[in-house]
Amino acid sequence: MSTHVSGPRTRMRPERRAPRVFYLMVLPALALFAVFHTVPLLTGMFFSLTNYAGYGEWSFVGLRNYVNLFGDDRIYGAYGFTFLFAIVSTVAVNIIALSIAIALNGRIRFKTGFRGIFFIPNILSILIVGYVFNYLFSNSVPAIADALGITSLTTSILASADTAWIGVVILSVWQAAAFNIIIYLAGLQTIPTELYEAAALDGASPWKQFTSITFPMIGAFFTINMVLSLKNFLQVFDQIVSLTAGGPGTSTESISLLIYRGGFQGGEYGYQTANAVIYLFVIIAISFIQLRVLQRREASF
């Protein structure tokens, strides 16, 4: 997860070609990578220009799939939900993970034990955790709300098209926070304690210490977490399958789920592949914008 390749530069060797053994080391993996990554990518792009249903005959339709995408409400719905979900989750997960990491780095007892507990969600399958959360949201929370007399929560939040996405956010943040906490902890430990000692001598408040020491010093870790979180959340799939299956209606249908459903079950192979190509460009564009903006911010400190 490094941001740059560091270390001593490899020295120029006299011979122009690398020894053959180096080619032997990369060729098997390169062949597999080409066959299972690049070929499918190109095949996908090719079929996005056809009306292929996933079976049977097909013919070229040019850019018609792409044109149709822009008039499709279901696509807009999926993009709308995915972005709302991804942005809220990215912000939430980073605030929560950073807070917990700072607390775990503070003067507390049972540090290792707590770290161990907070990392547990990361080792569990999201699908299975999703089923447990489904039970929590549909049975436990309404029962508790009932007992406490909170009428707004007595029905499951997953049952309403307006609130179901919140359930997906809670599950996803619960699971993703674990990994982010570890990364932030790694970042926090790179900060020399002398900086805080000096700041304390100058009478800087804890908040001031956070904004002028902690946050700038872990800038690279913040960038990495933001970019990775958003990229991962934009691909949300397991969480939804286990929690809402896209419902109620299509209110929590993510782009990945739509491509899976339309492409495998709906006979829309060509059409959904076009959707996937657009999705590829969206993810690349967002990752690059995010990297540039965040790295510029990092540099300005």
């Binding site: 990554h37 969600p121 080792i123 699908l127 039970y135």
Partner: protein, 299 residues
């Protein structure tokens, strides 16, 4: 982080001799902040409550369910586990997942580190530099775009099985792993290898005898992350596997959920059994897992 209970402060200060009196402003790392500890403990409950719920539900009878679900079972019903065991064909799913995970981790460690070594030591050559960026670029390709063609391809090649999964995980992990390995290998001084080469060792033996052992910490990181991914992944088995007898643990839960979703206790027993192997391993390897992942993130 300033709130400190007064008595705790006094007690710790009493334990520590002179240092504090000399430098009163120095933040003392050994002074425990009990308020913060309590706050962290409360936050930890958010992790523990769902786990607790899983355990108690797995031990109940259907008529004990009701209410919040947090109550303890009046009498533990261990038969839930036996039922889940047979309904999900647990031993077979466990074997499949274990096979895929072990295969993936081994193949990943061997191939990915080797590719990274070749790239890291030849970065000044156009072919290898191009290769590096070719692999890294794949980090940005979302899985759904290649999902549909990959499924067709694996079916045609007869790889819609456990072996296919092992190959796919190894290939899809390559981008990220190359990134981590190359950075690490470039920080290993060349002199070590040059000495061995002058002594007549081949590049091949240099890699296996010198570089691979030096990659220990990186191998741990990559191995742990790969293991978690291959063990828990749901999407790839869902789309790739065609034979039900090849299904992995997450996939078994998915199919099970669809067919028997009314019987919560048996379902939860099944979830617990699917979570348990990694949880047990984690319990023993905790310290090591966390330090491994932290190293991967800070490198």
């Amino acid at each position: 982080m300033t709130a400190t209970s007064h008595s705790a402060e006094r007690r710790v200060v009493a334990d520590r001799p002179v240092a504090d009196a000399d430098r009163p402003f120095r933040p003392d790392r050994r002074r425990v902040n009990w308020w913060l500890t309590a706050l962290v403990a409360v936050c930890a409950l958010t992790v523990l409550i769902p786990l607790y719920l899983t355990v108690v539900t797995a031990l109940k009878t259907p008529d004990q369910l009701g209410g919040t679900g947090f109550g303890l079972p009046t009498s533990a019903r261990w038969e839930n586990f036996a039922e889940a065991w047979t309904l999900t064909s647990f031993p077979r799913a466990l074997l499949n997942t274990g096979l895929v995970t072990v295969g993936t981790v081994l193949l990943t460690l061997v191939t990915n580190s080797m590719v990274a070594y070749a790239i890291a030591r030849n970065m000044h050559r156009r072919f290898f530099k191009g290769l590096y960026f070719y692999f890294i670029a794949a980090l940005f390709v979302p899985f759904p775009i290649i999902m549909l063609p990959v499924v067709k391809q694996t079916a045609i090649l007869g790889l819609d099985n456990q072996l296919g999964l092992i190959l796919l995980y190894t290939v899809y992990g390559l981008s990220f792993n190359i990134f981590v390995y190359v950075a690490f290998i470039r920080s290993i001084p060349l002199e070590l290898e040059e000495a061995a080469l002058t002594d007549g060792a081949t590049t091949w033996t240099v890699f296996w005898r010198i570089i691979f052992p030096l990659l220990g910490p990186m191998n741990a990181t990559v191995g742990i992350l790969t293991c978690l991914w291959a063990w828990n992944d749901f999407m790839l088995p869902l789309v790739v596997l065609s034979d039900p007898s090849a299904q992995t643990l997450p996939l078994a839960q998915f199919i099970f959920q669809g067919q028997f979703n009314t019987n919560y206790p048996v379902a939860f027993a099944s979830y617990l059994m699917a979570m348990a192997p990694l949880l047990v391993v984690y319990l023993f390897a905790q310290r090591w897992v966390i330090s491994g992942v932290m190293r991967g993130s800070s490198k």
